[in-house]
Amino acid sequence: MMSNLIKKIGGGLALAMYSMLAQAEYAINFPKPVTVIAGQIYDLHMITMWIIVGIAVVVYGAMFYSILKHRKSVGHKAANFHHNTMIEIVWTTIPLLILIGMAYPATKSVLAMRDSSNPDMTVKITGYQWKWEYDYQQEGFKFMSVLSTPRDQFELKGTAAKNENYLLEVDNPMVVPVGKKVRILLTANDVIHAWWVPTFGIKQDAIPGFIKDSWFKADKAGTYRGQCAELCGKDHGYMPIVVEVKEQADYDKWVAEQKSKSAAATQDTNKVYELAELKSIGEKVYATNCAGCHQAKGEGMAPVFPALDGSKMVKGPKQAQIDIVMNGKAGTAMSAFGKQLSDTDVAAVITYTRNAWGNHTGEAIQPSEIKASRK
């Protein structure tokens, strides 16, 4: 392992040198802003940096001058002064004035960024371990947004070639119209998360039990990416945010699609499925919603996340399992999936776990049973 490491370091050095030579584009500043607020942040940061550069030139200039000239080896004799009230007053006052100068534009943009009044639309965003839910309450649909990078690209020792947007891509992005003030209401289901899109200049913690708001107004259509910014457990690094900013017409089309999709899902509830059908839907639901904790092969991660493969509950009477999946278990990471998934998805994932790996109950749980259990 050590020699492997050395090889890697050596290779890394060579690679780093090479990419510097090739003048790879090293991002050394904020990404290009797409909202007015992000623009203000960009400018504030630049102003602050230039002030700092100015102060640094003076401070380091004096320091290095002194290091060069006032050394014993060049025969400099030590002076004996040890205070000077005038200069001490000066170097207390000047920084104070500079700071007051900086506080003024900063205050203005704090006031601007906190003004979430008069939005054109509102979306409620909920953080879950480890995905985001976007609830378009006014339009009447909601969906989960989960990392879509294939597992073999990021699992331990995974060798698959990585996508361009590795770890920054999701199955269902948030979609908003361009040029509209979007207010977001943030909360979380389990632990604290933070919704962050750098190009929008917005970062807001999502806190379970509280609703916090923030807003953005994207000036340019495009796809913008961000990440959860508050440590939220083991897959904190794997819950990206993707926002697609569309022209109004395209946005309207997207809304219409979402509405018909969600209507179809409600109708499904009355349908009676074959076992195989449920299993195949359930396998997908499991991969996006459950595998993070209970693992791909249901082996779990002792002692925190129990195995579902061979679990007494999963092999036993179905009601207990429906109950824990629907309502979760307070005080543990097992959350209430009844709130997150459709009846069909819950039915399918339970059916799947009861008929996958070493579990062979042969039972198919129908969406109607789940619907009934909601009462």
Partner: protein, 522 residues
């Protein structure tokens, strides 16, 4: 008090029992320093694990949960196990010597303060081996995440309790010593700045450690007795923990830097052969920083969504701290100005401290500005910022102080060539390690993630290379220390040409008992 008498042979047990039962401030200082060195290497090796995993995109060595354990325990152990005990070690050795006292005021308490530490360390290190592994919710222990953890969460909480008790006892001892045991004529405004900074630090510790203890106790009862302090469903508030934690946490930052200011303020005048510039303003600046540190805590939480007025208030208060901090930096440079400087290892580390701590101060101003912080909070920019103040700040000051006083402690000069190598390699490695992290943060890389998007790959690789270099270099320090303890050129009493505080009037190595008869201060 028991009469102190001067005699050559002391009746104390030898071997291990000497160290277990010792009440001698020098022995206890040594224990603290070695303890912190061991913890420094343990927590440092966790950091090597972190940098190895971040060397390339993808997961090469560990699962995400293990990675989170490493970041959490690296932070906790470095703060509570390495940096803080090191400064207490310096206080034990130096405070009595610098004020002309025969020992600490409360020697038995002193012994107990130290021996609490290994117990806490066993809990922390041991937590890696319990089912589920060590705590993984970040060194800040935010609920509800922290409450989800396993047994290691409780071990961490108990460790923090023990460390807190140790710090409080140690601080009471330091305060008592400084108030009561100064040699005749040593007025407060004649105390060396190191003593002053520790005096103020000790008050900070006594004030905030109970707050931390309260916060973690509430976590404990939330975990086991359904108290719901931090659970909204039960009427609590997770953000309240953050307020309490940072009410402790921000002064804690100064607890880890004020003694460093003191060390550097002792070293620069010595090697510039010129008195410290602005002694009185240094004392006042230290005191104002300490007081301000109580009213800026929420700048760690700009993104929780406080009321706008609160955000503005915390921004102004935070910016204000830059003023006394600036005064300190200006004073150090004015001390160097027109001096007759030489550049032995302690001076090199002290100058690097001033130069690099200033960078940490600059990025601190950037982070104080609320809108900019919203963008940078919880990114690598913050990681870079606090490592500039804690590594090139606190740790470099600890190295500076160690090289400065090693001859007094051991009676031998350390190896200057090795010391310089240690300095330059640390200096270069440190900057390769942390400077690029500013860019990573600006470009949008969150902290505490085990894997990252491809655009962050180059700087991470560079940073890791710097990390391995910095890490390996620290072995040199151990070699220097061991060599110096075992032998080397005999040190004179004065050791450094420009040194003029009381510890340089006694022989090197400092005898087991010093100042049995108090010195007279003119």
């Amino acid at each position: 008090m028991e009469a102190v008498h001067d005699h050559g042979h002391e009746h104390h047990p030898s071997g291990i029992m000497r160290w277990v039962t010792t009440t001698n401030h020098k022995d206890i200082g040594t224990l603290y320093l070695f303890f912190s060195l061991i913890m420094f290497f343990f927590a440092g090796s966790l950091a090597m694990g972190i940098r190895a995993e971040l060397f390339q995109p993808g997961l090469q060595f560990m699962q995400p949960n293990t990675f989170n354990q490493l970041t959490t325990m690296h932070g906790l152990i470095m703060v509570f196990g390495a940096i803080m005990p090191a400064f207490v070690g310096f206080a034990n050795w130096q405070v009595p010597l610098m004020i002309g006292a025969p020992d600490m005021a409360l020697p038995r308490l002193n012994n107990w303060s130290f021996w609490l530490l290994p117990m806490a360390a066993i809990l922390l290190v041991g937590s890696f081996f319990v089912p589920g592994g060590a705590a993984a919710g970040g060194w800040t222990m935010y609920p509800p995440l922290f409450i989800q953890g396993g047994l290691s969460g409780d071990m961490t909480i108990f460790a923090v309790h023990i460390l807190g008790i140790s710090s409080i006892l140690g601080s009471i001892n330091i305060i008592t010593t400084i108030m009561n045991m100064r040699a005749p004529g040593m007025t407060y405004m004649k105390m060396p700045l190191f003593v002053w900074t520790w005096f103020i630090t000790a008050f900070l510790l006594v004030a905030v450690m109970p707050v931390l203890a309260g916060a973690v106790t509430m976590l404990l009862t939330d975990r086991h007795f359904d108290t719901h302090f931090f659970n909204a469903a039960g009427g609590g508030d997770p953000v309240m923990f953050q307020h309490i934690f940072w009410f402790f946490g921000h002064p804690e930052v100064y607890i880890m830097i004020l003694p460093a200011f003191g060390i550097v303020s002792s070293i620069i005048p010595t090697f510039a052969r010129k008195p410290l510039f602005g002694y009185a303003s240094m004392v006042y600046a230290t005191a104002s920083i300490a007081i301000l540190s109580f009213i800026v805590w929420a700048h760690h939480m700009y993104s929780v969504g406080m009321p706008t007025a609160a955000q503005l208030y915390f921004m102004y208060a935070t910016m204000l701290i830059a003023v006394p901090t600036g005064v300190k930096v200006f004073n150090w440079i004015a001390t160097m100005w027109e001096g007759s400087m030489t550049f032995e290892t302690p001076m090199l580390f002290a100058i690097a401290f001033v130069a690099l701590f200033t960078i940490g101060g600059f990025t601190g101003i950037v982070l104080a500005v609320v809108p900019v912080d919203i963008q940078l909070q919880d990114t690598y920019y913050v990681v870079a910022h606090f490592h500039y103040v804690l590594v090139s700040g606190s740790l470099f000051a600890i190295f500076a102080g160690a090289y400065y006083w090693l001859p007094k402690w051991t009676g031998h000069m350390y190896n200057e060539t090795l010391g310089k190598w240690h300095f330059w390699l640390s200096m270069i490695g440190f900057n390769i390690l942390f400077f690029p992290q500013h860019f990573l943060g600006l470009a949008g890389m969150p902290r505490r993630i085990p894997d990252y998007a491809l655009q962050f790959a180059d700087f991470n690789m560079i940073s890791s290379i710097g990390g391995f270099m910095f890490g390996a270099t620290q072995l040199l320090f151990v070699i220097v220390v061991i060599k110096c303890v075992r032998g080397g050129t005999k040190a004179t009493a004065q050791v450094w040409e420009g040194a003029d505080t009381l510890e340089w009037t006694i022989p090197s190595p400092a005898p087991y008992h010093t100042f049995a008869t108090p010195p007279v201060i003119k």
